[in-house]
Protein backbone atom coordinates (compact mmCIF):
# COMPACT_ATOMS: atom_id res chain seq x y z
CA UNK A 1 0.00 0.00 0.00
CA UNK A 2 1.16 3.62 -0.49
CA UNK A 3 2.85 5.49 2.32
CA UNK A 4 -0.10 7.39 3.77
CA UNK A 5 0.12 9.72 6.75
CA UNK A 6 -1.78 7.16 8.82
CA UNK A 7 0.70 4.47 7.92
CA UNK A 8 3.56 6.82 8.80
CA UNK A 9 1.98 7.42 12.20
CA UNK A 10 1.47 3.70 12.73
CA UNK A 11 5.08 2.97 11.87
CA UNK A 12 6.22 5.72 14.22
CA UNK A 13 4.04 4.28 16.99
CA UNK A 14 5.88 0.97 16.65
CA UNK A 15 9.31 2.54 17.16
CA UNK A 16 9.42 2.26 20.97
CA UNK A 17 8.72 -1.48 20.92
CA UNK A 18 11.04 -2.03 17.94
CA UNK A 19 13.82 -0.42 19.98
CA UNK A 20 13.03 -2.55 23.01
CA UNK A 21 13.08 -5.67 20.85
CA UNK A 22 16.36 -4.63 19.19
CA UNK A 23 18.02 -3.92 22.52
CA UNK A 24 16.79 -7.19 24.00
CA UNK A 25 18.19 -9.08 21.01
CA UNK A 26 21.49 -7.32 20.60
CA UNK A 27 22.24 -6.22 24.16
CA UNK A 28 23.74 -3.09 22.71
CA UNK A 29 21.93 0.25 22.62
CA UNK A 30 23.88 1.85 19.78
CA UNK A 31 23.65 -1.17 17.57
CA UNK A 32 19.98 -1.55 18.40
CA UNK A 33 19.23 1.94 17.14
CA UNK A 34 21.13 1.22 13.92
CA UNK A 35 18.99 -1.87 13.51
CA UNK A 36 15.82 0.15 14.06
CA UNK A 37 16.91 2.76 11.53
CA UNK A 38 17.67 0.08 8.95
CA UNK A 39 14.31 -1.56 9.69
CA UNK A 40 12.42 1.69 9.13
CA UNK A 41 14.22 2.38 5.85
CA UNK A 42 13.54 -1.11 4.57
CA UNK A 43 9.94 -1.03 5.70
CA UNK A 44 9.29 2.20 3.84
CA UNK A 45 11.27 1.08 0.79
CA UNK A 46 9.10 -2.06 0.66
CA UNK A 47 5.86 -0.52 1.82
CA UNK A 48 4.15 -1.73 -1.38
CA UNK A 49 4.46 -5.30 -0.13
CA UNK A 50 2.68 -4.53 3.14
CA UNK A 51 -0.87 -5.91 3.09
CA UNK A 52 -3.33 -3.28 4.31
CA UNK A 53 -5.15 -4.49 7.38
CA UNK A 54 -2.51 -7.03 8.32
CA UNK A 55 -0.44 -6.81 11.48
CA UNK A 56 1.95 -3.88 11.01
CA UNK A 57 4.00 -4.42 14.19
CA UNK A 58 4.48 -8.09 13.29
CA UNK A 59 5.62 -7.09 9.80
CA UNK A 60 8.12 -4.57 11.21
CA UNK A 61 9.39 -7.03 13.83
CA UNK A 62 9.95 -9.60 11.07
CA UNK A 63 12.12 -7.15 9.14
CA UNK A 64 14.12 -6.25 12.24
CA UNK A 65 14.57 -9.86 13.26
CA UNK A 66 15.82 -10.84 9.80
CA UNK A 67 18.23 -7.91 9.72
CA UNK A 68 19.55 -8.87 13.13
CA UNK A 69 19.97 -12.46 12.01
CA UNK A 70 21.93 -11.61 8.90
CA UNK A 71 24.05 -9.15 10.83
CA UNK A 72 24.63 -11.70 13.56
CA UNK A 73 26.14 -14.15 11.16
CA UNK A 74 28.73 -11.58 10.22
CA UNK A 75 29.77 -10.42 13.63
CA UNK A 76 29.15 -12.09 16.93
CA UNK A 77 27.63 -10.28 19.84
CA UNK A 78 30.09 -8.24 21.83
CA UNK A 79 28.99 -9.44 25.22
CA UNK A 80 31.67 -7.51 27.11
CA UNK A 81 30.47 -4.29 25.60
CA UNK A 82 26.80 -5.04 26.00
CA UNK A 83 26.25 -4.11 29.61
CA UNK A 84 27.90 -0.74 29.48
CA UNK A 85 25.98 0.27 26.42
CA UNK A 86 22.74 -1.09 27.73
CA UNK A 87 23.15 0.85 30.93
CA UNK A 88 23.59 4.02 28.88
CA UNK A 89 20.20 3.52 27.28
CA UNK A 90 18.48 3.66 30.64
CA UNK A 91 17.08 7.02 31.56
CA UNK A 92 17.18 6.49 35.27
CA UNK A 93 19.66 4.26 37.01
CA UNK A 94 17.75 1.73 39.08
CA UNK A 95 18.51 1.56 42.80
CA UNK A 96 21.57 -0.53 43.51
CA UNK A 97 19.89 -3.77 44.56
CA UNK A 98 17.50 -3.63 41.67
CA UNK A 99 20.42 -2.82 39.42
CA UNK A 100 22.37 -5.90 40.46
CA UNK A 101 19.34 -8.06 39.98
CA UNK A 102 18.82 -6.48 36.60
CA UNK A 103 22.42 -7.18 35.53
CA UNK A 104 22.05 -10.75 36.66
CA UNK A 105 18.89 -11.14 34.64
CA UNK A 106 20.50 -9.58 31.58
CA UNK A 107 23.43 -11.99 31.92
CA UNK A 108 21.14 -14.99 32.16
CA UNK A 109 19.21 -13.82 29.11
CA UNK A 110 22.48 -13.55 27.19
CA UNK A 111 23.21 -17.18 27.94
CA UNK A 112 20.11 -18.44 26.16
CA UNK A 113 20.41 -19.73 22.62
CA UNK A 114 19.29 -17.04 20.20
CA UNK A 115 16.19 -18.95 19.04
CA UNK A 116 14.96 -19.24 22.61
CA UNK A 117 15.80 -15.68 23.55
CA UNK A 118 13.87 -14.15 20.67
CA UNK A 119 10.86 -16.43 21.22
CA UNK A 120 10.74 -15.54 24.91
CA UNK A 121 10.99 -11.80 24.22
CA UNK A 122 8.32 -11.81 21.51
CA UNK A 123 5.82 -13.72 23.62
CA UNK A 124 6.81 -12.68 27.14
CA UNK A 125 7.66 -9.02 26.62
CA UNK A 126 6.38 -7.76 23.26
CA UNK A 127 3.05 -9.45 23.91
CA UNK A 128 2.71 -11.22 20.56
CA UNK A 129 0.54 -14.32 20.34
CA UNK A 130 2.30 -17.63 19.72
CA UNK A 131 0.91 -17.48 16.19
CA UNK A 132 2.34 -14.02 15.47
CA UNK A 133 5.67 -14.96 17.04
CA UNK A 134 5.79 -18.05 14.84
CA UNK A 135 5.11 -15.94 11.75
CA UNK A 136 7.84 -13.45 12.77
CA UNK A 137 10.38 -16.24 13.28
CA UNK A 138 9.23 -18.24 10.27
CA UNK A 139 8.59 -21.44 12.21
CA UNK A 140 5.71 -23.57 13.51
CA UNK A 141 3.60 -22.48 16.48
CA UNK A 142 4.63 -25.61 18.37
CA UNK A 143 8.27 -24.73 17.87
CA UNK A 144 7.73 -21.29 19.40
CA UNK A 145 5.91 -22.80 22.37
CA UNK A 146 8.71 -25.23 23.03
CA UNK A 147 11.39 -22.52 22.66
CA UNK A 148 9.56 -20.29 25.13
CA UNK A 149 9.24 -23.16 27.59
CA UNK A 150 12.89 -24.07 27.30
CA UNK A 151 13.90 -20.43 27.68
CA UNK A 152 11.83 -20.07 30.85
CA UNK A 153 13.13 -23.22 32.39
CA UNK A 154 16.73 -22.36 31.57
CA UNK A 155 16.36 -18.86 33.01
CA UNK A 156 14.83 -20.22 36.15
CA UNK A 157 17.69 -22.71 36.52
CA UNK A 158 20.28 -19.99 35.93
CA UNK A 159 18.72 -17.43 38.22
CA UNK A 160 16.96 -19.26 40.98
CA UNK A 161 17.98 -22.86 41.32
CA UNK A 162 21.76 -23.18 41.12
CA UNK A 163 22.41 -20.05 43.11
CA UNK A 164 19.47 -20.24 45.49
CA UNK A 165 21.72 -20.30 48.58
CA UNK A 166 23.59 -17.22 47.42
CA UNK A 167 20.62 -14.98 47.92
CA UNK A 168 20.84 -12.67 50.86
CA UNK A 169 17.91 -11.32 52.85
CA UNK A 170 16.02 -10.17 49.80
CA UNK A 171 12.40 -9.78 50.70
CA UNK A 172 10.99 -10.87 47.40
CA UNK A 173 13.09 -14.01 47.33
CA UNK A 174 12.15 -14.76 50.94
CA UNK A 175 8.53 -14.34 50.02
CA UNK A 176 8.96 -16.65 47.06
CA UNK A 177 10.67 -19.33 49.09
CA UNK A 178 8.36 -18.86 52.05
CA UNK A 179 5.35 -19.03 49.76
CA UNK A 180 6.20 -22.58 48.86
CA UNK A 181 5.12 -23.91 52.25
CA UNK A 182 1.64 -22.43 52.11
Amino acid sequence: MPLTDTLRDDILASVPSLRAFAISLSGNGDRADDLVQETLLRAIANIDSFQPGSNLPAWLFTILRNLFRSDYRKRRREVEDAEGNYAKTLKTQPAQNAHLEFEEFRHALDKLPQDQREALILVGASGFSYEDAAAICGCAVGTIKSRVNRARSKLSALLYVDGAEDFGPDETVRAVIGGNGG
Binding site: D33, R42, T89, L155, A157
Partner: protein, 65 residues
Amino acid sequence: MKEVKKQGGLNAEIQSRIGHQLRAMYDDVVRQGVPDRFAELIRKLDGPEAAAAQIDEPAKNDGRD
Protein backbone atom coordinates in the same frame (compact mmCIF):
# COMPACT_ATOMS: atom_id res chain seq x y z
CA MET B 1 16.24 -28.70 36.35
CA LYS B 2 14.64 -31.66 38.13
CA GLU B 3 14.38 -29.54 41.27
CA VAL B 4 12.32 -26.99 39.41
CA LYS B 5 9.81 -29.54 38.21
CA LYS B 6 9.42 -31.12 41.64
CA GLN B 7 8.55 -27.85 43.33
CA GLY B 8 5.54 -26.78 41.33
CA GLY B 9 4.55 -23.89 43.61
CA LEU B 10 8.01 -22.38 43.71
CA ASN B 11 8.33 -22.82 39.99
CA ALA B 12 5.16 -20.83 39.34
CA GLU B 13 6.47 -18.01 41.57
CA ILE B 14 9.79 -18.04 39.78
CA GLN B 15 8.12 -17.97 36.38
CA SER B 16 6.04 -14.99 37.35
CA ARG B 17 9.16 -13.25 38.61
CA ILE B 18 11.01 -13.96 35.37
CA GLY B 19 8.07 -12.61 33.39
CA HIS B 20 8.08 -9.49 35.53
CA GLN B 21 11.82 -8.89 35.06
CA LEU B 22 11.60 -9.46 31.34
CA ARG B 23 8.81 -6.92 30.96
CA ALA B 24 10.53 -4.44 33.28
CA MET B 25 13.64 -4.55 31.08
CA TYR B 26 11.62 -4.20 27.91
CA ASP B 27 9.20 -1.54 29.11
CA ASP B 28 12.05 0.58 30.36
CA VAL B 29 13.04 1.09 26.72
CA VAL B 30 9.44 1.38 25.46
CA ARG B 31 8.85 4.24 27.91
CA GLN B 32 11.63 6.25 26.31
CA GLY B 33 9.26 6.87 23.41
CA VAL B 34 10.41 7.80 19.93
CA PRO B 35 13.87 9.36 19.70
CA ASP B 36 13.97 12.47 17.50
CA ARG B 37 16.19 10.84 14.91
CA PHE B 38 13.47 8.33 14.03
CA ALA B 39 10.62 10.82 14.06
CA GLU B 40 12.63 12.99 11.69
CA LEU B 41 13.61 10.07 9.48
CA ILE B 42 10.02 8.96 8.98
CA ARG B 43 8.80 12.51 8.46
CA LYS B 44 11.33 13.38 5.80
CA LEU B 45 11.03 10.22 3.70
CA ASP B 46 8.45 11.02 1.06
CA GLY B 47 8.18 7.52 -0.36
CA PRO B 48 9.74 4.13 -1.00
CA GLU B 49 12.31 5.52 -3.44
CA ALA B 50 13.66 7.97 -0.89
CA ALA B 51 14.02 5.17 1.66
CA ALA B 52 15.62 2.77 -0.81
CA ALA B 53 18.17 5.43 -1.73
CA GLN B 54 19.32 5.58 1.90
CA ILE B 55 19.86 1.87 2.39
CA ASP B 56 23.47 0.78 2.11
CA GLU B 57 23.69 -2.36 0.09
CA PRO B 58 26.05 -4.59 2.08
CA ALA B 59 25.85 -7.25 -0.64
CA LYS B 60 27.74 -4.93 -2.96
CA ASN B 61 30.80 -4.93 -0.74
CA ASP B 62 31.09 -8.33 0.81
CA GLY B 63 29.12 -10.51 -1.53
CA ARG B 64 31.98 -12.91 -2.02
CA ASP B 65 32.98 -14.07 1.46
